[in-house]
Symmetry: C2
Subunit: 332 residues, 2 copies
């Protein structure tokens, strides 16, 4: 049995297609009698309006798409929950797709916005250069969350990564650390900002940075172990290590512990993101909490305005407050 159309419904209900459409869209200009006939016919034929026909005519889809390198990240999945909940309140469906850092796949997904498959786009961790993000946001409905461009040309929601790294580094120094190392991720802007905040805190305290190690590939548990091993193989050990996220910090702690040293007594370790891994770690990690859910909500609100108000193009960046969460991995 083929799909029923609005024509079929009109025929079985004994009314015109106009009336069927009016019932479907809750127009008040329909008599009670027609409404019942149409509703009955719809149920009888198991009719659903075809999305492509409706989208074509209405020129919108009520769908948005979010893109991230990777869906595992706890911050991103939480932020996407925020996007999704806000979207649902306004009748939008939100979908997400991983790009795996593949530029070609990212382009293919961004094309879904260009060709009208979705009404808006949320970028969590773009692979394309900042300039392209901004060019895209210039003419289409795009917002950024977490990983945002350096300029004010587009719109983005994030925490102040530089300040957060500065805060947590200052905490490390306050607990007595003097030789501080960092395990970071320079491929992302947020990673570079965190590096910068780290350096600034050291400079302010009159200290000079110890070893700065940066990952090339995945910024994960094994990378954390690998880099820490390299760190421990040198003669002068650091007394504190700042890691760009909790997972890497967990790898770091693990490698230190396996080497027979103690955290935080011999070496303090700090993470970033306050993901569940921060609590799974032994000792539990001092870290930075990001208001990810709220960031997602805010991003959708801005996207909605962009999609619905003609000519609205919000620019600039919103930085939500982060929180320093102190746990046993850094207590003196």
């Amino acid at each position: 049995m083929a799909r029923a159309t609005v024509q079929d419904v009109a025929r079985t209900a004994g009314v015109s297609v106009g009336t069927v459409s009016r019932v479907l869209n809750g127009s008040p200009a329909v008599s009670e009698a027609s409404k019942e006939k149409v509703t009955a016919a719809i149920r009888q034929l198991n009719y659903r309006p075809l999305a492509s026909a409706r989208d074509l005519r209405r020129d919108r889809t009520m769908r948005i798409l979010a893109l991230a390198k990777n869906l595992n990240s706890p911050v991103i999945s939480e932020a996407f929950r925020g996007v999704g909940d806000a979207a649902a309140l306004s009748g939008y469906v939100s979908l997400i797709a991983p790009t795996s850092g593949d530029l070609e796949r990212e382009q293919q997904l961004v094309d879904m916005l260009r060709n009208g498959s979705v009404d808006g786009l949320v970028l969590f961790s773009p692979t394309m250069p900042d300039q392209e993000v901004e060019a895209l946001a210039e003419q289409l409905s795009v917002v950024q969350v977490c990983e945002i461009t350096g300029s004010e040309a587009a719109f983005g929601v994030s925490i102040d990564d530089r300040q957060a790294a500065f805060d947590i580094t200052r905490h490390l120094i306050a607990t007595g650390a003097r030789r501080l190392a960092m395990l970071g991720f320079q491929a992302a802007r947020s990673g570079r900002l965190r590096e910068s905040g780290f350096r600034q805190a050291l400079a302010d305290a009159g200290l000079s940075p110890g070893q700065m190690l940066f990952v090339q590939g995945d910024f994960d548990f094994h990378a954390g172990r690998r880099l820490t091993k390299k760190l421990l193989d040198t003669d002068t050990l650091p007394d504190a290590i700042f890691c760009g996220n909790d997972i890497v910090a967990a790898g770091c702690v693990r490698e230190i512990t396996d080497a027979g040293l103690r955290v935080p007594d011999d070496i303090a370790v700090a993470g970033f993101d306050d993901s569940v891994q921060a609590e799974m770690c032994v000792p539990e990690l001092t870290t930075i909490r990001q208001p990810a859910y709220e960031m997602g909500r805010l991003a959708f609100d801005s996207l909605l305005e962009r999609m619905t108000v003609p000519g609205a193009h919000r620019r600039g960046r919103v930085f939500l407050p982060h929180e320093l969460v102190i746990r046993d991995s850094t207590r003196a």
Copy 2:
């Protein structure tokens, strides 16, 4: 500037819409001269075919949607990678959306298949009852991965959860355990199958199960701690605990360690899934590895056949082999 249409392209290129469409779709029946004019016009107008118009005419979208309660699960995100890679090879875009276990939201997303917003659906952890899944699969392109219905009415790819739980429990017994407890999740079919495998292994060894504790809400780290605490508060301690996944097992290990007991010497612990958390845990977890990526690939292949071959409706279940990964949390 409004969106350019195929008409606009035809006008600026000085050809007909038919020719433009032929160029767009790579038809050979176009002269080199026309092709160039059209390509130039397309570039000049920055033209992209509108998805809804194309989808309407072609009666397919080249998009599929995957649904899961939750995107964090490492097995699901890996399986979805498999789906996505296989889909990309066939020119399909694959998207995913979390349902949060909310029936209404799930229905809204399933409607995207019903109304032709996508061509196929991959279900990872449905919230709707099995019967509805099967009714849906009966008439539309749906496949299940990981969490599959009990009957052969629909199609699904999974491991044999019962057998896997049986295998790992037998391993626990082989390393000397005699009083075995379990932390499980009965809300999911896979959870019940794992429970059944666990019980069977005990029965085969002539043992009777110790405490069987089941979570109500989230099956996460904190739930693992909470349940383990309850377990440790009784007078007769178990000498091995089988947990329904690695995260819960990590919580379990943590609670045991915090209580001053040792894993595996006092109590052995086994997990499930072989996620990165199994390696982050101290000691590292004995667990079951699922070939998640391969499961996803296979599921897409079947979905593709269902979507493209008229009348094809593959039924039944495919169980891929799992692997028992033995680590320090259970070594004698």
